[in-house]
Protein backbone atom coordinates (compact mmCIF):
# COMPACT_ATOMS: atom_id res chain seq x y z
CA UNK A 1 0.00 0.00 0.00
CA UNK A 2 1.39 3.36 -0.92
CA UNK A 3 0.08 6.84 -0.30
CA UNK A 4 0.33 9.77 -2.70
CA UNK A 5 2.16 12.52 -0.84
CA UNK A 6 2.45 14.92 -3.76
CA UNK A 7 0.87 15.25 -7.19
CA UNK A 8 -0.33 17.86 -9.61
CA UNK A 9 -3.24 19.87 -8.20
CA UNK A 10 -6.65 19.41 -9.77
CA UNK A 11 -6.85 23.19 -9.48
CA UNK A 12 -4.73 23.25 -12.63
CA UNK A 13 -5.92 22.15 -16.06
CA UNK A 14 -4.09 19.60 -18.20
CA UNK A 15 -2.69 22.35 -20.44
CA UNK A 16 1.13 22.29 -20.40
CA UNK A 17 2.50 25.53 -18.93
CA UNK A 18 3.94 27.89 -21.51
CA UNK A 19 6.60 29.28 -19.16
CA UNK A 20 10.36 29.00 -19.64
CA UNK A 21 12.33 26.29 -17.78
CA UNK A 22 12.60 27.09 -14.07
CA UNK A 23 10.28 30.10 -14.20
CA UNK A 24 8.63 30.79 -10.84
CA UNK A 25 5.18 31.29 -12.40
CA UNK A 26 4.61 27.53 -12.42
CA UNK A 27 5.34 27.23 -8.70
CA UNK A 28 3.06 30.17 -7.85
CA UNK A 29 0.29 28.78 -10.09
CA UNK A 30 0.42 25.51 -8.13
CA UNK A 31 0.18 27.28 -4.77
CA UNK A 32 -2.86 29.28 -5.89
CA UNK A 33 -4.50 26.17 -7.36
CA UNK A 34 -3.81 24.07 -4.25
CA UNK A 35 -5.18 26.81 -1.98
CA UNK A 36 -8.42 27.11 -3.97
CA UNK A 37 -8.90 23.33 -3.87
CA UNK A 38 -8.13 23.07 -0.16
CA UNK A 39 -10.56 25.90 0.61
CA UNK A 40 -13.16 24.17 -1.58
CA UNK A 41 -13.84 27.25 -3.70
CA UNK A 42 -12.17 26.32 -7.01
CA UNK A 43 -15.36 25.96 -9.06
CA UNK A 44 -16.72 29.23 -7.70
CA UNK A 45 -13.63 31.25 -8.52
CA UNK A 46 -12.89 33.68 -11.34
CA UNK A 47 -9.20 34.09 -12.20
CA UNK A 48 -8.19 37.33 -13.90
CA UNK A 49 -5.12 37.09 -16.10
CA UNK A 50 -2.90 40.09 -16.84
CA UNK A 51 -0.84 41.04 -19.85
CA UNK A 52 2.64 39.57 -19.65
CA UNK A 53 4.04 36.04 -19.43
CA UNK A 54 0.99 34.92 -17.44
CA UNK A 55 -1.44 36.30 -20.03
CA UNK A 56 -2.54 32.70 -20.68
CA UNK A 57 -3.12 31.95 -16.98
CA UNK A 58 -6.82 31.46 -17.79
CA UNK A 59 -5.77 28.33 -19.67
CA UNK A 60 -4.03 26.94 -16.58
CA UNK A 61 -6.32 27.66 -13.61
CA UNK A 62 -9.14 25.14 -13.61
CA UNK A 63 -11.88 27.70 -13.00
CA UNK A 64 -13.59 30.53 -14.88
CA UNK A 65 -11.06 32.91 -16.37
CA UNK A 66 -11.06 36.46 -17.67
CA UNK A 67 -8.20 38.11 -19.53
CA UNK A 68 -7.71 41.81 -18.74
CA UNK A 69 -5.95 44.68 -20.52
CA UNK A 70 -2.44 45.58 -19.32
CA UNK A 71 -2.63 46.77 -15.71
CA UNK A 72 -6.44 46.82 -15.59
CA UNK A 73 -7.02 43.49 -13.84
CA UNK A 74 -7.96 45.11 -10.48
CA UNK A 75 -10.66 47.24 -12.18
CA UNK A 76 -11.98 44.14 -13.95
CA UNK A 77 -11.94 42.32 -10.61
CA UNK A 78 -13.93 45.14 -9.01
CA UNK A 79 -16.52 44.89 -11.80
CA UNK A 80 -16.89 41.14 -11.29
CA UNK A 81 -16.74 41.00 -7.50
CA UNK A 82 -19.26 43.81 -7.01
CA UNK A 83 -21.89 42.05 -9.09
CA UNK A 84 -21.28 38.51 -7.80
CA UNK A 85 -19.92 39.15 -4.28
CA UNK A 86 -20.35 35.53 -3.15
CA UNK A 87 -17.83 34.25 -5.69
CA UNK A 88 -14.05 34.23 -5.25
CA UNK A 89 -12.12 36.61 -7.46
CA UNK A 90 -8.37 36.98 -7.83
CA UNK A 91 -6.03 38.82 -10.14
CA UNK A 92 -2.66 37.39 -11.10
CA UNK A 93 -0.33 40.20 -12.13
CA UNK A 94 3.33 40.77 -12.84
CA UNK A 95 5.41 43.79 -11.89
CA UNK A 96 5.22 45.48 -15.30
CA UNK A 97 1.46 45.08 -15.20
CA UNK A 98 0.82 46.03 -11.57
CA UNK A 99 3.73 48.30 -10.62
CA UNK A 100 3.91 50.33 -13.83
CA UNK A 101 0.99 50.61 -16.22
CA UNK A 102 -1.56 49.49 -13.61
CA UNK A 103 -0.63 51.61 -10.58
CA UNK A 104 -3.88 53.59 -10.62
CA UNK A 105 -6.01 50.45 -10.79
CA UNK A 106 -4.22 48.53 -8.02
CA UNK A 107 -4.09 51.47 -5.62
CA UNK A 108 -7.75 52.33 -6.04
CA UNK A 109 -8.95 48.75 -5.73
CA UNK A 110 -7.19 48.68 -2.34
CA UNK A 111 -8.41 52.18 -1.57
CA UNK A 112 -12.03 51.08 -2.07
CA UNK A 113 -11.33 48.04 0.09
CA UNK A 114 -12.59 45.74 -2.64
CA UNK A 115 -12.89 42.21 -1.32
CA UNK A 116 -10.70 40.28 -3.72
CA UNK A 117 -7.19 38.85 -3.77
CA UNK A 118 -4.18 39.97 -5.78
CA UNK A 119 -1.28 37.63 -6.51
CA UNK A 120 1.55 39.99 -7.45
CA UNK A 121 4.54 38.29 -9.05
CA UNK A 122 7.64 40.46 -8.80
CA UNK A 123 10.56 39.25 -10.89
CA UNK A 124 12.04 42.72 -11.44
CA UNK A 125 11.66 42.66 -15.21
CA UNK A 126 9.26 42.59 -18.16
CA UNK A 127 9.66 38.92 -19.05
CA UNK A 128 7.21 38.55 -21.92
CA UNK A 129 8.45 41.43 -24.04
CA UNK A 130 12.08 40.41 -23.75
CA UNK A 131 13.45 41.38 -20.36
CA UNK A 132 13.11 45.17 -20.33
CA UNK A 133 13.58 47.35 -17.25
CA UNK A 134 10.63 47.41 -14.83
CA UNK A 135 9.97 49.90 -12.02
CA UNK A 136 11.09 47.03 -9.78
CA UNK A 137 14.41 46.39 -11.56
CA UNK A 138 17.33 46.63 -9.12
CA UNK A 139 19.97 49.37 -9.30
CA UNK A 140 22.76 48.29 -11.68
CA UNK A 141 20.66 45.35 -12.93
CA UNK A 142 21.18 44.95 -16.66
CA UNK A 143 18.10 44.59 -18.83
CA UNK A 144 17.42 45.09 -22.52
CA UNK A 145 16.43 48.72 -21.87
CA UNK A 146 19.02 49.35 -19.17
CA UNK A 147 21.95 47.75 -21.01
CA UNK A 148 24.53 49.42 -18.73
CA UNK A 149 22.56 48.59 -15.60
CA UNK A 150 19.73 50.60 -14.04
CA UNK A 151 20.97 54.07 -13.11
CA UNK A 152 19.37 55.83 -10.17
CA UNK A 153 20.17 59.26 -11.57
CA UNK A 154 17.91 58.79 -14.58
CA UNK A 155 15.45 56.06 -13.53
CA UNK A 156 15.12 56.44 -9.76
CA UNK A 157 15.15 53.66 -7.22
CA UNK A 158 13.07 50.47 -7.55
CA UNK A 159 9.49 50.87 -6.34
CA UNK A 160 8.52 48.91 -3.23
CA UNK A 161 4.95 47.89 -3.86
CA UNK A 162 4.08 46.10 -0.61
CA UNK A 163 5.44 48.98 1.49
CA UNK A 164 3.39 51.39 -0.65
CA UNK A 165 0.20 49.36 -0.51
CA UNK A 166 0.55 48.93 3.26
CA UNK A 167 -0.09 52.67 3.63
CA UNK A 168 -3.55 52.44 2.08
CA UNK A 169 -6.11 52.70 4.91
CA UNK A 170 -8.63 50.25 3.40
CA UNK A 171 -6.16 47.50 2.46
CA UNK A 172 -6.65 44.49 4.75
CA UNK A 173 -3.69 42.20 4.19
CA UNK A 174 -0.38 42.79 2.41
CA UNK A 175 2.50 40.31 2.62
CA UNK A 176 5.72 39.78 0.68
CA UNK A 177 6.98 36.22 0.23
CA UNK A 178 9.40 34.30 -1.99
CA UNK A 179 9.54 30.98 -3.84
CA UNK A 180 13.30 30.47 -4.11
CA UNK A 181 13.40 27.32 -1.95
CA UNK A 182 10.98 24.78 -0.58
CA UNK A 183 10.75 26.37 2.90
CA UNK A 184 9.80 29.70 1.40
CA UNK A 185 7.41 28.00 -1.00
CA UNK A 186 5.59 26.61 2.06
CA UNK A 187 5.40 30.09 3.59
CA UNK A 188 4.12 31.50 0.32
CA UNK A 189 1.40 28.88 0.24
CA UNK A 190 0.38 29.90 3.75
CA UNK A 191 0.18 33.57 2.77
CA UNK A 192 -1.81 32.87 -0.39
CA UNK A 193 -4.22 30.66 1.50
CA UNK A 194 -4.63 33.30 4.19
CA UNK A 195 -5.41 35.93 1.54
CA UNK A 196 -8.15 33.74 0.09
CA UNK A 197 -9.47 32.96 3.56
CA UNK A 198 -9.74 36.69 4.21
CA UNK A 199 -11.70 37.09 0.99
CA UNK A 200 -14.01 34.20 1.87
CA UNK A 201 -14.62 35.81 5.27
CA UNK A 202 -15.31 39.16 3.61
CA UNK A 203 -12.36 40.82 5.30
CA UNK A 204 -11.42 43.00 2.35
CA UNK A 205 -8.56 43.64 -0.03
CA UNK A 206 -5.59 41.27 0.11
CA UNK A 207 -2.34 41.20 -1.87
CA UNK A 208 0.51 38.72 -1.74
CA UNK A 209 3.70 39.91 -3.42
CA UNK A 210 5.78 36.93 -4.50
CA UNK A 211 9.47 37.46 -5.28
CA UNK A 212 10.09 35.34 -8.34
CA UNK A 213 12.78 34.51 -10.82
CA UNK A 214 12.99 35.09 -14.56
CA UNK A 215 15.91 32.86 -15.57
CA UNK A 216 15.74 33.77 -19.25
CA UNK A 217 15.21 37.49 -18.67
CA UNK A 218 17.99 37.54 -16.09
CA UNK A 219 20.24 35.45 -18.31
CA UNK A 220 20.87 32.92 -15.52
CA UNK A 221 20.37 29.15 -15.23
CA UNK A 222 17.23 28.42 -13.12
CA UNK A 223 19.14 27.29 -10.01
CA UNK A 224 21.33 30.40 -10.08
CA UNK A 225 18.24 32.57 -10.68
CA UNK A 226 16.53 31.07 -7.63
CA UNK A 227 19.61 31.93 -5.57
CA UNK A 228 19.52 35.48 -6.97
CA UNK A 229 16.04 35.94 -5.49
CA UNK A 230 17.57 35.33 -2.06
CA UNK A 231 20.84 37.16 -2.63
CA UNK A 232 19.73 39.93 -5.01
CA UNK A 233 16.05 40.72 -4.53
CA UNK A 234 15.44 39.94 -0.85
CA UNK A 235 17.93 42.44 0.61
CA UNK A 236 16.09 45.26 -1.20
CA UNK A 237 12.62 43.72 -0.92
CA UNK A 238 12.44 42.35 2.65
CA UNK A 239 9.97 39.53 3.20
CA UNK A 240 7.21 39.83 5.75
CA UNK A 241 3.69 40.91 6.52
CA UNK A 242 3.34 44.62 5.80
CA UNK A 243 -0.28 45.04 6.76
CA UNK A 244 -2.87 42.88 8.49
CA UNK A 245 -5.74 44.84 9.96
CA UNK A 246 -7.41 41.71 11.28
CA UNK A 247 -4.37 40.35 13.11
CA UNK A 248 -3.92 40.47 16.87
CA UNK A 249 -3.49 44.16 17.59
CA UNK A 250 -4.61 44.82 14.00
CA UNK A 251 -2.39 47.35 12.35
CA UNK A 252 -0.33 48.12 9.32
CA UNK A 253 3.43 47.91 8.99
Amino acid sequence: MSKVVYEKSRGLTDAPLTYCPGCSHGIIHKLVAESLVELDVLENTIAIAPVGCSVLAYNFFNCDGVQAAHGRAPAVATGIKRVIPDKIVFTYQGDGDLASIGTAEIIHAAHRGDNFTVIFVNNATYGMTGGQMAPTTLINQKTSTSPYGRQEATTGKPIKVSELMAQIPSAAYIERVSVHDVQHIAKTKKAIKKAFEYQIEGKGFSMVEVLASCPIGWNMPPVEAAKFIAGGLMPYYPLGCYRDIHAEGGSGA
Binding site: I46, C63, V66, A75, G79, V83, H108
Partner: protein, 351 residues
Protein backbone atom coordinates in the same frame (compact mmCIF):
# COMPACT_ATOMS: atom_id res chain seq x y z
CA UNK B 1 -48.84 60.36 -17.83
CA UNK B 2 -45.86 62.43 -18.85
CA UNK B 3 -43.15 63.74 -16.56
CA UNK B 4 -40.73 66.56 -17.16
CA UNK B 5 -37.16 65.24 -17.19
CA UNK B 6 -33.62 66.13 -18.20
CA UNK B 7 -32.01 63.96 -20.88
CA UNK B 8 -29.33 62.79 -18.46
CA UNK B 9 -31.89 61.82 -15.81
CA UNK B 10 -34.04 60.06 -18.41
CA UNK B 11 -31.06 57.95 -19.48
CA UNK B 12 -30.31 57.05 -15.86
CA UNK B 13 -33.86 56.03 -14.95
CA UNK B 14 -34.35 54.17 -18.23
CA UNK B 15 -31.20 52.14 -17.55
CA UNK B 16 -32.50 51.12 -14.13
CA UNK B 17 -35.91 50.25 -15.60
CA UNK B 18 -34.17 48.24 -18.35
CA UNK B 19 -32.50 46.05 -15.72
CA UNK B 20 -29.08 47.66 -15.50
CA UNK B 21 -27.48 46.18 -12.37
CA UNK B 22 -24.10 47.89 -12.41
CA UNK B 23 -23.01 51.43 -13.15
CA UNK B 24 -19.39 52.55 -13.24
CA UNK B 25 -18.48 56.13 -14.01
CA UNK B 26 -16.20 59.05 -13.43
CA UNK B 27 -17.14 62.72 -13.10
CA UNK B 28 -16.97 64.82 -16.26
CA UNK B 29 -19.18 67.64 -17.50
CA UNK B 30 -21.81 67.57 -19.05
CA UNK B 31 -22.83 64.03 -17.99
CA UNK B 32 -22.51 64.35 -14.21
CA UNK B 33 -26.25 64.04 -13.58
CA UNK B 34 -26.04 60.39 -14.66
CA UNK B 35 -23.51 59.11 -12.06
CA UNK B 36 -25.23 61.34 -9.49
CA UNK B 37 -28.62 59.81 -10.28
CA UNK B 38 -27.14 56.30 -10.25
CA UNK B 39 -25.45 56.90 -6.89
CA UNK B 40 -28.87 57.77 -5.45
CA UNK B 41 -30.88 55.00 -7.07
CA UNK B 42 -28.79 51.96 -8.01
CA UNK B 43 -28.48 50.37 -4.61
CA UNK B 44 -32.19 50.66 -3.88
CA UNK B 45 -32.91 48.90 -7.16
CA UNK B 46 -30.62 46.00 -6.28
CA UNK B 47 -27.71 47.21 -8.36
CA UNK B 48 -24.16 48.41 -7.90
CA UNK B 49 -22.71 51.91 -8.24
CA UNK B 50 -18.96 52.54 -8.21
CA UNK B 51 -17.28 55.87 -8.85
CA UNK B 52 -14.13 54.64 -10.55
CA UNK B 53 -10.63 56.09 -10.27
CA UNK B 54 -10.72 57.07 -13.96
CA UNK B 55 -12.61 56.43 -17.17
CA UNK B 56 -10.07 53.68 -17.82
CA UNK B 57 -11.02 52.10 -14.50
CA UNK B 58 -14.75 52.47 -15.22
CA UNK B 59 -14.65 50.81 -18.64
CA UNK B 60 -12.62 47.92 -17.23
CA UNK B 61 -15.15 47.48 -14.41
CA UNK B 62 -17.73 47.25 -17.19
CA UNK B 63 -15.57 44.57 -18.85
CA UNK B 64 -15.68 42.65 -15.55
CA UNK B 65 -19.38 43.09 -14.79
CA UNK B 66 -20.35 42.24 -18.38
CA UNK B 67 -18.20 39.10 -18.28
CA UNK B 68 -20.11 38.09 -15.14
CA UNK B 69 -23.29 38.31 -17.19
CA UNK B 70 -25.10 41.34 -15.76
CA UNK B 71 -26.51 44.34 -17.62
CA UNK B 72 -24.16 47.24 -17.02
CA UNK B 73 -23.60 50.80 -18.18
CA UNK B 74 -20.95 53.48 -18.10
CA UNK B 75 -21.30 57.09 -19.18
CA UNK B 76 -18.82 59.82 -19.97
CA UNK B 77 -18.16 62.81 -22.19
CA UNK B 78 -15.76 63.26 -25.09
CA UNK B 79 -12.27 63.43 -23.47
CA UNK B 80 -13.37 60.66 -21.09
CA UNK B 81 -14.56 58.62 -24.05
CA UNK B 82 -11.09 58.95 -25.54
CA UNK B 83 -9.75 57.25 -22.41
CA UNK B 84 -12.29 54.44 -22.64
CA UNK B 85 -11.25 53.39 -26.14
CA UNK B 86 -8.76 50.75 -24.94
CA UNK B 87 -11.46 49.07 -22.89
CA UNK B 88 -14.02 49.29 -25.70
CA UNK B 89 -11.62 47.51 -28.05
CA UNK B 90 -11.17 44.70 -25.47
CA UNK B 91 -14.94 44.53 -24.89
CA UNK B 92 -15.51 44.12 -28.63
CA UNK B 93 -12.70 41.58 -28.85
CA UNK B 94 -14.20 39.55 -26.01
CA UNK B 95 -17.78 39.88 -27.35
CA UNK B 96 -19.23 41.42 -24.20
CA UNK B 97 -22.58 43.21 -24.04
CA UNK B 98 -22.84 46.60 -22.33
CA UNK B 99 -24.17 50.10 -22.87
CA UNK B 100 -21.92 53.15 -23.10
CA UNK B 101 -23.22 56.71 -23.21
CA UNK B 102 -21.29 59.71 -24.53
CA UNK B 103 -22.86 63.06 -23.63
CA UNK B 104 -20.58 64.82 -26.04
CA UNK B 105 -18.79 68.14 -25.70
CA UNK B 106 -16.47 70.03 -27.99
CA UNK B 107 -12.80 69.26 -28.60
CA UNK B 108 -10.10 68.39 -29.42
CA UNK B 109 -8.17 68.04 -26.19
CA UNK B 110 -9.88 69.53 -23.19
CA UNK B 111 -11.82 71.68 -25.67
CA UNK B 112 -14.80 73.03 -23.81
CA UNK B 113 -17.95 71.86 -22.06
CA UNK B 114 -20.41 73.09 -24.69
CA UNK B 115 -22.20 70.62 -26.98
CA UNK B 116 -20.67 69.27 -30.18
CA UNK B 117 -20.87 66.39 -32.64
CA UNK B 118 -17.17 66.08 -33.22
CA UNK B 119 -16.96 62.55 -31.76
CA UNK B 120 -18.65 61.04 -34.82
CA UNK B 121 -15.45 59.46 -36.13
CA UNK B 122 -14.45 58.24 -32.66
CA UNK B 123 -17.88 56.66 -32.22
CA UNK B 124 -18.44 55.10 -35.61
CA UNK B 125 -14.93 54.16 -36.71
CA UNK B 126 -13.68 52.37 -33.61
CA UNK B 127 -11.49 54.67 -31.50
CA UNK B 128 -9.39 51.75 -30.28
CA UNK B 129 -7.17 49.19 -32.00
CA UNK B 130 -8.33 46.42 -34.28
CA UNK B 131 -11.20 45.62 -36.63
CA UNK B 132 -14.45 46.41 -34.86
CA UNK B 133 -17.61 48.47 -34.84
CA UNK B 134 -20.38 48.94 -32.36
CA UNK B 135 -23.96 50.05 -32.83
CA UNK B 136 -24.26 53.81 -32.22
CA UNK B 137 -27.62 55.40 -31.45
CA UNK B 138 -28.20 59.14 -31.74
CA UNK B 139 -31.36 60.39 -29.99
CA UNK B 140 -32.80 63.82 -30.77
CA UNK B 141 -35.34 64.16 -27.94
CA UNK B 142 -35.49 63.24 -24.27
CA UNK B 143 -38.18 60.70 -25.15
CA UNK B 144 -35.86 59.11 -27.66
CA UNK B 145 -33.06 59.02 -25.05
CA UNK B 146 -35.40 57.00 -22.85
CA UNK B 147 -36.52 54.63 -25.60
CA UNK B 148 -33.05 54.07 -27.02
CA UNK B 149 -31.62 53.05 -23.64
CA UNK B 150 -33.98 50.04 -23.54
CA UNK B 151 -33.18 49.30 -27.17
CA UNK B 152 -29.41 49.67 -26.67
CA UNK B 153 -29.44 47.10 -23.84
CA UNK B 154 -31.43 44.67 -25.97
CA UNK B 155 -29.19 45.05 -29.02
CA UNK B 156 -26.11 44.64 -26.80
CA UNK B 157 -27.43 41.39 -25.31
CA UNK B 158 -28.75 40.03 -28.58
CA UNK B 159 -25.50 40.42 -30.52
CA UNK B 160 -22.99 40.33 -27.62
CA UNK B 161 -21.61 43.77 -28.44
CA UNK B 162 -21.18 47.07 -26.66
CA UNK B 163 -23.64 49.70 -27.84
CA UNK B 164 -23.10 53.44 -27.71
CA UNK B 165 -25.65 56.18 -27.19
CA UNK B 166 -24.23 59.41 -28.55
CA UNK B 167 -25.91 62.69 -27.71
CA UNK B 168 -24.88 66.30 -27.50
CA UNK B 169 -24.49 67.86 -24.06
CA UNK B 170 -27.44 70.02 -25.10
CA UNK B 171 -29.83 67.08 -24.98
CA UNK B 172 -28.39 65.75 -21.73
CA UNK B 173 -29.08 69.07 -20.06
CA UNK B 174 -32.47 69.77 -21.69
CA UNK B 175 -35.80 69.12 -19.95
CA UNK B 176 -38.72 67.77 -21.97
CA UNK B 177 -41.96 65.90 -21.31
CA UNK B 178 -41.38 62.16 -21.21
CA UNK B 179 -43.62 59.11 -21.31
CA UNK B 180 -41.85 56.53 -19.14
CA UNK B 181 -42.82 53.54 -21.26
CA UNK B 182 -41.34 50.27 -20.07
CA UNK B 183 -40.61 47.15 -21.98
CA UNK B 184 -39.27 43.79 -20.87
CA UNK B 185 -35.67 42.91 -21.76
CA UNK B 186 -34.97 40.40 -24.55
CA UNK B 187 -34.30 36.88 -23.39
CA UNK B 188 -30.80 35.76 -24.31
CA UNK B 189 -28.51 32.86 -23.52
CA UNK B 190 -25.72 33.90 -21.16
CA UNK B 191 -24.26 30.45 -20.55
CA UNK B 192 -20.91 31.83 -21.82
CA UNK B 193 -20.42 34.15 -18.86
CA UNK B 194 -17.71 33.84 -16.20
CA UNK B 195 -19.92 33.99 -13.12
CA UNK B 196 -18.05 31.42 -11.03
CA UNK B 197 -20.43 28.51 -11.52
CA UNK B 198 -17.96 25.97 -12.93
CA UNK B 199 -19.49 23.35 -10.62
CA UNK B 200 -22.65 23.44 -12.75
CA UNK B 201 -21.16 23.72 -16.27
CA UNK B 202 -17.74 23.53 -18.00
CA UNK B 203 -15.48 26.43 -17.02
CA UNK B 204 -15.82 29.57 -19.11
CA UNK B 205 -13.20 31.97 -20.39
CA UNK B 206 -13.57 35.60 -21.50
CA UNK B 207 -10.65 36.85 -23.57
CA UNK B 208 -9.80 38.83 -26.69
CA UNK B 209 -6.45 37.06 -27.06
CA UNK B 210 -5.61 34.63 -29.82
CA UNK B 211 -2.02 33.93 -30.78
CA UNK B 212 -2.81 31.89 -33.88
CA UNK B 213 -3.38 33.86 -37.08
CA UNK B 214 -5.94 31.53 -38.58
CA UNK B 215 -7.95 31.37 -35.33
CA UNK B 216 -7.98 35.14 -34.82
CA UNK B 217 -8.82 35.70 -38.46
CA UNK B 218 -11.82 33.40 -38.13
CA UNK B 219 -12.92 35.16 -34.93
CA UNK B 220 -12.83 38.48 -36.79
CA UNK B 221 -14.69 37.05 -39.76
CA UNK B 222 -17.35 35.64 -37.43
CA UNK B 223 -17.69 39.00 -35.69
CA UNK B 224 -18.18 40.73 -39.02
CA UNK B 225 -20.94 38.25 -39.84
CA UNK B 226 -22.64 39.51 -36.68
CA UNK B 227 -22.07 43.06 -37.93
CA UNK B 228 -23.82 42.10 -41.18
CA UNK B 229 -26.78 40.85 -39.15
CA UNK B 230 -26.85 44.08 -37.16
CA UNK B 231 -26.75 46.10 -40.37
CA UNK B 232 -29.61 44.06 -41.78
CA UNK B 233 -31.81 44.19 -38.68
CA UNK B 234 -31.00 47.25 -36.64
CA UNK B 235 -30.65 50.14 -39.05
CA UNK B 236 -32.71 53.17 -37.95
CA UNK B 237 -33.33 56.30 -39.98
CA UNK B 238 -36.08 58.91 -40.24
CA UNK B 239 -36.63 60.14 -43.78
CA UNK B 240 -39.12 62.93 -44.51
CA UNK B 241 -37.85 63.78 -48.00
CA UNK B 242 -40.88 63.73 -50.31
CA UNK B 243 -41.51 64.14 -54.00
CA UNK B 244 -41.09 67.80 -54.91
CA UNK B 245 -38.26 68.44 -52.43
CA UNK B 246 -35.19 69.81 -54.15
CA UNK B 247 -32.88 69.67 -51.13
CA UNK B 248 -32.36 66.81 -48.66
CA UNK B 249 -30.90 68.04 -45.38
CA UNK B 250 -29.01 65.38 -43.40
CA UNK B 251 -28.64 65.95 -39.66
CA UNK B 252 -28.72 63.81 -36.49
CA UNK B 253 -29.33 64.47 -32.81
CA UNK B 254 -30.57 67.86 -31.63
CA UNK B 255 -29.26 69.69 -34.74
CA UNK B 256 -31.85 67.72 -36.74
CA UNK B 257 -34.53 69.66 -34.83
CA UNK B 258 -32.90 72.94 -35.84
CA UNK B 259 -32.90 71.68 -39.43
CA UNK B 260 -36.65 71.03 -39.19
CA UNK B 261 -37.20 74.69 -38.26
CA UNK B 262 -35.09 75.74 -41.24
CA UNK B 263 -37.22 73.51 -43.50
CA UNK B 264 -40.39 75.27 -42.25
CA UNK B 265 -38.83 78.67 -42.87
CA UNK B 266 -37.84 77.67 -46.42
CA UNK B 267 -41.25 76.17 -47.23
CA UNK B 268 -42.84 79.54 -46.50
CA UNK B 269 -40.82 81.04 -49.35
CA UNK B 270 -41.41 78.14 -51.74
CA UNK B 271 -38.15 76.24 -51.35
CA UNK B 272 -38.93 72.58 -50.65
CA UNK B 273 -36.53 70.63 -48.48
CA UNK B 274 -36.82 67.40 -46.49
CA UNK B 275 -34.88 65.87 -43.60
CA UNK B 276 -32.91 62.66 -43.41
CA UNK B 277 -32.13 61.86 -39.78
CA UNK B 278 -29.94 58.81 -39.16
CA UNK B 279 -30.77 57.35 -35.73
CA UNK B 280 -28.14 54.64 -36.00
CA UNK B 281 -24.80 56.21 -36.94
CA UNK B 282 -23.34 52.73 -37.18
CA UNK B 283 -24.73 50.90 -39.03
CA UNK B 284 -25.20 53.92 -41.32
CA UNK B 285 -28.25 54.18 -43.61
CA UNK B 286 -26.27 54.54 -46.84
CA UNK B 287 -29.09 53.13 -48.99
CA UNK B 288 -31.40 56.01 -48.18
CA UNK B 289 -29.40 58.18 -50.60
CA UNK B 290 -29.98 55.76 -53.47
CA UNK B 291 -33.76 55.96 -53.25
CA UNK B 292 -34.50 59.67 -53.04
CA UNK B 293 -37.33 61.25 -55.09
CA UNK B 294 -36.24 62.43 -58.54
CA UNK B 295 -36.94 66.05 -57.54
CA UNK B 296 -33.89 66.09 -55.23
CA UNK B 297 -30.98 68.06 -56.66
CA UNK B 298 -28.79 68.77 -53.62
CA UNK B 299 -27.77 67.24 -50.31
CA UNK B 300 -26.86 69.48 -47.38
CA UNK B 301 -25.22 67.97 -44.31
CA UNK B 302 -25.53 70.03 -41.12
CA UNK B 303 -23.35 69.04 -38.18
CA UNK B 304 -21.92 70.57 -35.01
CA UNK B 305 -18.42 69.75 -36.23
CA UNK B 306 -16.00 70.62 -39.01
CA UNK B 307 -17.57 67.84 -41.06
CA UNK B 308 -17.46 64.18 -40.02
CA UNK B 309 -20.77 62.48 -40.90
CA UNK B 310 -20.56 64.25 -44.25
CA UNK B 311 -18.02 61.59 -45.26
CA UNK B 312 -20.61 58.83 -44.74
CA UNK B 313 -23.15 60.85 -46.72
CA UNK B 314 -20.70 61.08 -49.62
CA UNK B 315 -20.17 57.31 -49.40
CA UNK B 316 -23.94 56.81 -49.58
CA UNK B 317 -24.49 59.34 -52.36
CA UNK B 318 -21.83 57.74 -54.57
CA UNK B 319 -21.46 60.93 -56.60
CA UNK B 320 -25.14 61.11 -57.58
CA UNK B 321 -25.73 64.53 -56.00
CA UNK B 322 -23.57 67.44 -54.97
CA UNK B 323 -23.02 67.14 -51.19
CA UNK B 324 -22.79 70.46 -49.35
CA UNK B 325 -21.81 71.01 -45.75
CA UNK B 326 -22.70 73.50 -43.07
CA UNK B 327 -21.13 73.15 -39.63
CA UNK B 328 -20.50 75.09 -36.44
CA UNK B 329 -17.98 73.94 -33.89
CA UNK B 330 -16.31 74.77 -30.59
CA UNK B 331 -19.68 74.79 -28.82
CA UNK B 332 -21.38 77.20 -31.22
CA UNK B 333 -24.81 76.02 -32.34
CA UNK B 334 -26.35 77.04 -35.65
CA UNK B 335 -29.68 78.88 -35.85
CA UNK B 336 -32.41 77.67 -38.24
CA UNK B 337 -31.80 80.84 -40.26
CA UNK B 338 -28.16 79.85 -40.87
CA UNK B 339 -29.19 76.54 -42.38
CA UNK B 340 -31.94 78.23 -44.40
CA UNK B 341 -29.41 80.73 -45.72
CA UNK B 342 -27.10 77.90 -46.75
CA UNK B 343 -29.97 76.20 -48.60
CA UNK B 344 -30.85 79.45 -50.40
CA UNK B 345 -27.22 79.84 -51.43
CA UNK B 346 -27.13 76.26 -52.77
CA UNK B 347 -30.40 76.56 -54.66
CA UNK B 348 -29.44 79.97 -56.05
CA UNK B 349 -26.07 78.69 -57.18
CA UNK B 350 -27.81 75.88 -59.02
CA UNK B 351 -29.97 78.20 -61.04
Amino acid sequence: MKVLMKGNDAISEAAIQAGCKAFFGYPITPQNEIPEYMSRKMEASGGVFVQAESEVGAINMIYGAASAGVRCMTTSSSPGMALKQEGISYICGANLPCVIVNVARCGPGLGGILPAQSDYFQSTRGGGNGDYYMPVFAPSTVQECWDLVFHAFDVADKYRTPTLILLEGLLGQMMEPLEMTKRPPVTVDKSWCTDGNADKRPRNVVTSLSLYAEVLEQMNIDRFKVYEEITKNELMVENSVKDGDTVAIVAYGTPSRIALNAIEELAAEGINAGLIRPITLWPYPYEVFQNLPSSVEHILVAELSMGQMVEDVRLGVEGKYPVHFYGRTGGSIFEPSEIAAKVREIVKGAK
